[in-house]
């Protein structure tokens, strides 16, 4: 322990030094004036000071506060050694920052006991100072973490701005980010998707989960996947990524291009409420699945809820933070007030709902994030028109000879080529069905001369396909051409399929499709899935257009 002795009397200094040495304190320094004490203390950083009061240049009363000031945050014990014994002087010793006093001539035992007592206090002070430093460090680390979380959220969790007119939503994060997530994306089929979710846990852990969820969601939305497939993929991703005690409650909604049909997957979120035009709840979509990131893929259920709504009906979804917010007396809000507020004003906006909620909670800081999103059934045709589609015109020409026809199935390749163009991905399922129908008609009827009447009976149905295989294997002279032309100005895709067969009398071909028959549906599908169909030449060529 480093002790500084300050006294202008050399005899006193000698006595103190001697006494300290006897008690085992060998790291001692002497100052013979106030000024020297101040400058020496700066250099040696004493751990305890024995200070005389009466000195010529500066009194101990003046020196004490300076030394205390220099010592900073750690407690520096200052013990006055004084010949003064009047109350006032002793009180003053403590008032100026001294911690104790010993009368001159000093009693060795008492002084030694006091030194060791103050040494203990200093140790405590040192420890608490170190702990304090650690706390400051951790606190700034946490603050930094939160900044990272905010940064990640503002940069990585992006949403499609052109959907803003269609969704009414508010996110009110708790002071400490708690893992609510709202994602939305246009669907390539002209509809839209949104996801409202809530991670268990908070801070960086939740934000890390939000990243892959956001990216996977947008990728899957751009491919037009079903809400079930989305949930399945997110579940698998999170299962791999999240620690066992963390998971993600989420509801995923797909709104079809009509703007009125919903598909809803709800895993662990509060009921989504469907209101009619008068603000009455007419249907609820409760959670049917465990939150994502818990179950193995094969354990997952597949149930998706769907609803064909009417224009003006409204689907409201919120995170549990909303219904679990409490008032001053710890009463939870619950769902009922929300339905009441909508019943009072059917077209209430989400921000108006939040006004009600903050009135209820009397503006106390929410413990959990609050998120609410509302979609009102409406036409989405304007949205479909805003979908970006490639401006590059293209022409794709496939000429297939007998050998290629036998060995390959060109339909998937054609789809892949077309759907890799910007904005075309959403057409994939429709194009598959169209081109598959046209190609199979050309092959089955044009080239292989198969008769659909065969398919009347179950046995005939099988026989038809056997015969097809047989004739296909024997094929040696044939040609089918598939031409796809895209006109970006009209946003129109024209498909022409032509075969080397004899064609058919298309003027006569307008029979009503019989539901019982296992055939005849192909043409019906082509008619319904395209914008125009035209046969020409001898009926061996067909042109179909699609507006993109």
């Amino acid at each position: 322990m480093r002790i500084l002795i300050v006294d202008d009397d050399s005899l006193n200094r000698f006595l103190l030094l001697h006494m300290l040495e006897q008690k085992g304190y060998v790291d001692c320094y002497e100052a013979e004036s106030g000024h020297e004490a101040v400058s020496l203390a700066k250099r040696i950083n004493p751990e305890l000071v024995l200070l005389d009061v009466m000195m010529d240049d500066m009194s101990g009363y003046e020196v004490a506060p300076i030394l205390k000031g220099q010592a900073g945050d750690i407690y520096l014990p200052i013990i006055f050694i004084t010949a003064l014994d009047d109350e006032e002087s002793l009180v003053r010793c403590l008032e100026v920052g001294g911690d104790d006093f010993v009368a001159k001539p000093f009693n060795k035992t008492i002084l030694a006991a006091k030194i060791s007592a103050h040494a203990r206090t200093r140790e405590l002070s040192k420890k608490s100072y170190e702990q304090n430093q650690q706390l400051v460090f951790y606190r700034s680390a946490v603050e930094r973490e939160h900044k990272i979380v905010e940064h990640i959220f503002s940069n990585a969790v992006t949403n499609d701005k052109k959907l803003l007119p269609y969704l009414d939503f508010t996110l009110m994060p708790a002071t400490d980010f708690n893992g609510d997530l709202l994602l939305f994306s246009a669907s390539p089929n002209g509809g839209l998707y949104y996801l409202i979710g809530d991670f268990t846990g908070h801070g960086l852990a939740a934000a890390i989960g939000a990243l892959p969820v956001s990216q996977a969601f947008h990728t899957m939305a751009s491919k037009g996947l079903s809400v079930f497939e989305m949930a399945q993929t997110l579940n698998e991703t999170l299962l791999k990524l999240l620690p066992g005690d963390m998971f993600f409650a989420a509801a995923i909604v797909h709104v079809s291009s009509s703007g009125t049909r919903f598909e809803i997957w709800n895993s662990g979120m509060p009921d989504l409420l469907l209101f009619d035009l008068y603000g009455q709840v007419i249907k609820r979509f409760g959670s049917q699945h465990m939150a994502l990131g818990i179950l193995e893929p094969h354990e997952m259920g597949k149930d998706v809820q769907w609803h064909q709504g009417l224009v003006g009906e409204r689907l409201l979804a919120f995170s549990d933070g909303v219904i679990e917010i409490t008032d001053d007396e710890q009463n939870m809000l619950g769902e009922e007030p929300i339905t009441d507020w909508v019943a009072q004003k059917a077209d209430i906006s989400v921000s108006e709902l939040f006004e009600h909620i903050t009135n209820f909670s009397h503006n106390t800081d929410p413990l959990d994030d609050l998120t609410c999103v509302s979609y009102t059934c409406q036409s989405l045709s304007a949205l479909a028109r805003r979908q970006q589609v490639t401006h590059v015109p293209f022409n794709l020409n496939l000429t297939l000879d007998a050998e290629t026809i036998i060995e390959t199935d060109p339909v998937k390749s054609v789809i892949n080529m077309v759907c890799s163009q910007i904005g075309m991905y959403g057409l994939h399922a429709r194009l598959f069905t169209l081109i598959s129908e046209l190609y199979n008609n050309a092959l089955d009827h044009g080239i292989l001369q198969l008769d659909s009447n065969l398919k009347h009976s179950p046995e005939g149905f099988e026989a038809y396909f056997d015969l097809r295989m047989q004739r296909l294997a024997q094929l040696n002279q044939a040609q089918i051409t598939i031409t796809l032309t895209y006109e970006p100005t009209q946003r129109r895709l024209i498909i022409v399929v032509r075969d080397s067969g004899a064609g058919f009398d298309y003027q006569q071909y307008s029979k009503q499709v019989d539901l019982e028959n296992c055939f005849g549906r192909g043409i019906q599908l082509v008619n319904e899935l395209s914008d125009s169909v035209r046969y020409f030449e001898s009926g061996n060529a067909v042109e179909v257009t699609i507006n993109v």
Partner: protein, 101 residues
Amino acid sequence: MSLERRFSADKKQLTVVADEVFDFGKVQDFRVAFSTDIEDVEAVIIDLHKTAYMDSSALGMLLNMQKLLSGKVTSFKIINTRPQVLKILQIARFDKKFEIT
């Protein structure tokens, strides 16, 4: 390649899971999937959760299955249809012949 199929514990319900592409190339596989070991089967479920592409031959195959099993199987369901596939089923009015969810 055979199709994924599952029986309920009492063997009364058979689920057949169709592949990503459900077209004439699956005629044989589909036939095998719905017609083998079905002595006790009373309900057939066709799970289309993997199916992204479908054409009219798949529709024919479904109807053909229904015809072949009628009298024996009393319930036919099509489940987990994607929007694009559902549209095809709806155009073909399959909702009148199958329970589609």
